[in-house]
C-alpha cells in the first residue's frame, strides 16, 4: 500500500523489450474499457478468481472480471492504494494476500460507494484515482487451485455483498503426489482429479444456464478454445526460442504477454498477437538480437510477479547483464500444455490446465519442473521472489533452491517483495544479493577456465 521510490538505475537502459507485446497492451486496455461499459450494453458480469474460465463465460454470453488480474492491473499502474486503504479500513490485515486485499477493497468500495449499488459502478468518488470503473458482479465463480486462500477470498466477497450475488465454487484436488505413479501429467491422481474438475465445469455450465436464462453456446466454446489452443502453441514456440543464446526475449517480455493469454477472448486477434510475438522472437534469433544488451548471465525467476516493479526489475537485471529468461510463473502456467486441449471436446483439457496452476503441485513435481527448465534454458542461477503475501508461491522455494544447488550446482538468491503491495519490496537486499550471486558465478567460471 505504501509506495516506494524506484531507485534510478545508474546506467542507461540495457533492455531490449519486444515491440510486439505493445499490441497486447492495447488489446488489454480495450478489454477493460469494454468491461467497464458492459452494464450499459446489457451484459451480465461475473467476477472470478483462479484458472482461466473466460472461454466458458464467453460462451455463456457474460462479461468477465478476473480478480487477480484486476488487482495486478491496479498495482502495475500504481493505482492500488485506494482499494487497499478501503480494505484496511474494513479490517483486512496488511499481511493478507495483497491480490485479495486489493480486490476485496474494490468490493468494499462498490458496496459503500454512494452510487455504487444503484449504478453498479465501483465507488464513484474514487473512480478517477482508481481508474477502476469496475461494474458490480451478477455472479461469483471461484476456480482456485493450489492456494487455499483463493476459495476463502471469494466466499468473503460473497459475504461483503451480503450474500446477494450467487456464487459457484470449483474444488481442485491439490496434486500432492501420494502414489509412486504420481508425476507431472501422469498417474492415477492426475487422471481422477482431471475428471473431477471436468465434471464440475459441466455443473458450472448448467448453473450459468439456469441463472442467465441463456442456453450455453457449445460451438462458441469450441471455437474460442481452438483460438486459445493455437495462441498457446505459438506462445510455447516463442518460449522455446528463448532457449537460444543470447536469449532473444526475456521473462519480462512474457510477463507483459500474460494478460492476453490469461483472460482475453479466444479469437483470431489473440492468435495474431501471439503469432507476431513468436515471429519477432524468431526474427531476433535469426539476426542474433538479444533481449538484454551484452547478455552475460542467464537466470531463472521463481515466484509470482511483483506487479508494482515490472519495468524497474527488467531494467535492474539488464543493468547487470542478466537475462532473466524463464520462470515458473510463465513457463509453467497459462495454457502451457496446449496438446491437452481437444478442441472438439475441450472441457477435460481446460480442467487439466486449471489443475496445472503452478501453486497446485507438491514440491516433488515443482522440483522436476524447475530442474528441467534450468537445464533446458542453461541458466547460471535462480532468483527467488520471496513474495510476502503469497504463501502458495513461496512455500516450496527453499526446498527448490536446495535442490538446484545440490543437483545442478546452480546458486540462488532470494529477494523480498510482493504481488501488489510495493511496501514489501526491499531494494538494497536485491541489489546486494544479486551482485554477490553474479560475483560467485564469475568466480566459478574463472575456476572452470
Amino acid at each position: 500500500m505504501t509506495a516506494t521510490l524506484n531507485t534510478p538505475t545508474t546506467t542507461t537502459d540495457r533492455t531490449n523489450r519486444l515491440k510486439s507485446t505493445r499490441q497486447g497492451g492495447r488489446m488489454v486496455a480495450d478489454y477493460w474499457e469494454d468491461l467497464f461499459t458492459a452494464r450499459e450494453r446489457g451484459k451480465q458480469i461475473v467476477w472470478y478468481n483462479g484458472g482461466a474460465l473466460n472461454p466458458i463465460f464467453q460462451a455463456a454470453g457474460l462479461a468477465w472480471c478476473h480478480g487477480e488480474a484486476f488487482a495486478a492491473r491496479l498495482a502495475a499502474q500504481g493505482l492500488e492504494g485506494p482499494a487497499q486503504l478501503a480494505g484496511a479500513e474494513h479490517g483486512y490485515n496488511a499481511e493478507l494476500c495483497s491480490y485479495s486485499r486489493t480486490h476485496l477493497g474494490c468490493a468494499v468500495l462498490t458496496v459503500q460507494g454512494d452510487e455504487g449499488i444503484n449504478t453498479g459502478v465501483v465507488g464513484a468518488h474514487d473512480q478517477a484515482e482508481l481508474a477502476a470503473r469496475l461494474p458490480a458482479p451478477d455472479f461469483f465463480v471461484n476456480n482456485y487451485a493450489g492456494c487455499s486462500t483463493g476459495q476463502q477470498w471469494d466466499e468473503i466477497s460473497y459475504r461483503v455483498f451480503d450474500k446477494e450475488v450467487p456464487i459457484f465454487n470449483i474444488s481442485h484436488p491439490f496434486l500432492w503426489g501420494n502414489k509412486p505413479d504420481a508425476g507431472y501429467l501422469t498417474g492415477e491422481e492426475w487422471e481422477s482429479a482431471s475428471y473431477y474438475v471436468r465434471d464440475q465445469l459441466l455443473a458450472l455450465i448448467t448453473w450459468l444456464e439456469e441463472r442467465t436464462g441463456n442456453p450455453f453456446d457449445w460451438d462458441m466454446l469450441r471455437e474460442s478454445m481452438t483460438y486459445i489452443k493455437r495462441a498457446a502453441e505459438l506462445r510455447r514456440e516463442g518460449l522455446e526460442l528463448c532457449k537460444a543464446k543470447p536469449a532473444p526475449a526475456t521473462f519480462w517480455d512474457w510477463i507483459s504477454a500474460i494478460a492476453p493469454i490469461n483472460f482475453l477472448p479466444g479469437n483470431q486477434e489473440l492468435v495474431d498477437y501471439f503469432e507476431s510475438v513468436r515471429d519477432e522472437i524468431q526474427d531476433r534469433v535469426d539476426k542474433g538480437i538479444s533481449g538484454v544488451e551484452n547478455e552475460k548471465y542467464r537466470v531463472y525467476f521463481d515466484g509470482i510477479m511483483n506487479w508494482n516493479k515490472l519495468g524497474f526489475l527488467s531494467r535492474k537485471f539488464a543493468e547487470h547483464g542478466v537475462a532473466v529468461l524463464a520462470g515458473r510463473y510463465i513457463t509453467n502456467a497459462f495454457w502451457q500444455e496446449p496438446q491437452l486441449i481437444d478442441t472438439d471436446d475441450p472441457l477435460l483439457g481446460m480442467a487439466q490446465h486449471y489443475l496445472l496452476c503452478p501453486t497446485n503441485h507438491g514440491t516433488k513435481t515443482l522440483d522436476y519442473l524447475t530442474l528441467r527448465d534450468c537445464e533446458e534454458y542453461d541458466v547460471d542461477g535462480i532468483v527467488f521472489h520471496s513474495t510476502r503475501t503469497c504463501r502458495a508461491f513461496t512455500g516450496p522455494q527453499r526446498l527448490l533452491a536446495r535442490s538446484a544447488q545440490n543437483n545442478l550446482g546452480i546458486p540462488s538468491i532470494f529477494f523480498e517483495g510482493d504481488v501488489a503491495d510495493a511496501s514489501f519490496y526491499k531494494e538494497e537486499i536485491l541489489e546486494s544479493r544479486l551482485a554477490a550471486m553474479l560475483e560467485g558465478i564469475d568466480v566459478k567460471r574463472t575456476q572452470a577456465s
Binding site: H90, G91, Y92, N93, E95, L96, C97, S100, G146, C147, S148, T149, Q151, Q152, W153, E155, I156, Y158, R159, K163, I167, N169, S171, P173, F174, W176, N178, Q200, A203, T359, G362, T363, K364, S386, R388, T389, R391, A392, T394, G395, P396, Q397, R398, L399
Partner: protein
Amino acid sequence: MSRGAAALEALRAVARDPRSHIEAWRSAHPEGKVLGVLPMNFPRELAHAAGVMAVIVPDDQQPVTEGRAFLPEFYCGYTRNLADQAATGRFDQYDGLFVADHCIQLLGSADVVRALEPDRRVFLGQLISSLSDSWAGQKTAQMMSLLRTEVESFAGTTIDDDALRASIASFNRDRDLMRQIFDARAGGDVSYSPVDLQDIVASAQIMDPDEHHALLSDVVAERQFLPRDERIRVHLSGHLCHAPRRELLEVIEEVGAVIVDDDLWTGRRYLQAGMDESLAPMDALAKWYAGRNTALPCPTRVQHDVDWDAWLLDAVKRSDAEAVVHLMPKFCEPHMLFYPELRRALDEAGVPQLLIETEHEGIPLESFRTRLEALIERTHRNRPAYA
C-alpha cells in the same frame, strides 16, 4: 495430592511434554506405530481402530532455528514450528504424517517433512472444503474411504467395522466429557482455569481417548462448582489450529477478566461435534466432518449458509459474555479474511472486542496487558450503574 489433582497433573504433563508421553507409549507398544496428523479434520478414530497411536502434532513451542531454512518467516508460527521439528530431528517420533486439510501453509510444512524425512509416509487425503456443493457429501465419503485404506496400509492391518465403532464411541465419550466441562463454564462454573482447560484439550489431542477419559473422569469427580465473580466475562475467539501461549491466557484473567467460553482449537473447536453412533461407522465419519462446521463454523471451510459471526453472537449470548478477544495467529489467512465479518457483527451487536495478533516467539505481553486493560475498562462502562 488428591486423585483428581493427580489426574489433572498427569494430563498437564502430557500436554506440556508430549514427546515423553509418546516415548512411553512406544516402550509399552514396541510393535506399535505412531502417526502424526495435522489439524483440523483428520478422523483419528480410523487410526485408533487400526491400533495406531494418532497424535495431532502440537506446536512444541520451541524457538524456530533450523526450520528457518525451509519456510519463510511469513508462514504462521505453527507451520514454521513443524518445519523446525522436521529440520532438527524432533519429528522422528512419528512414523508417518497424514493431512486431511487443504491449508497452503500446512501443506508447505508437510512438504518440508516429506523432503527431510523421505522414509516416512506423508499422505494428503484432501477433504472437500466447499461444503455447500451438492456433491460435497459424496466426495467426503469417498475421501474417508481412501483415508481408511491408507491408514490400513500404514498400519499393516485391516480396520474392522466393530473396532471402528468402538473407537468412535471412545472418542465420543471423551469429547462428551470435555464438552460438559466447557458447557458448565459457559453456564457459570469457573472451577477450571483457562490454562487447565487448554491442558485438558491439548492432552486429548495426543492421548488414547480411553486413557484420557479415565484421567479426566477422576478430575471431574472432584469438581466443585465455583461460580463466576464480578470480573468482566470474556469469550476467546480464534487460534484455529494450535494452542495460544499459556501466559497469554493467564494475563487475560490477571487484568480483570474471566474467560467464560471460547472457540479455540485447544478448546471448544476440538470437541464441539461428536459422531453419530447410530450410523454405519464410515457414514458417521463423513457426517461428523460435515457437521463440525455447523457445530462450530470454521473460516477454512466454505459453506454459504453457515456463519462464524452468527455462531459467535449466539455463543456470547449463551455464556453471557460481555466482550470478545480475538486471538489471531500472525499470517493465518482464513482468520485474516473472516475477521472483518466478526468485527462487523460484534460492532452491530454492541459487544466490545479486541484483536490480538499472536506470534510464535516473542509475545509482547505487557503491551497486550495494556490493551486488555483498556478493553476491560471499556466493557465496564457497558454495565448498568446502580445507585
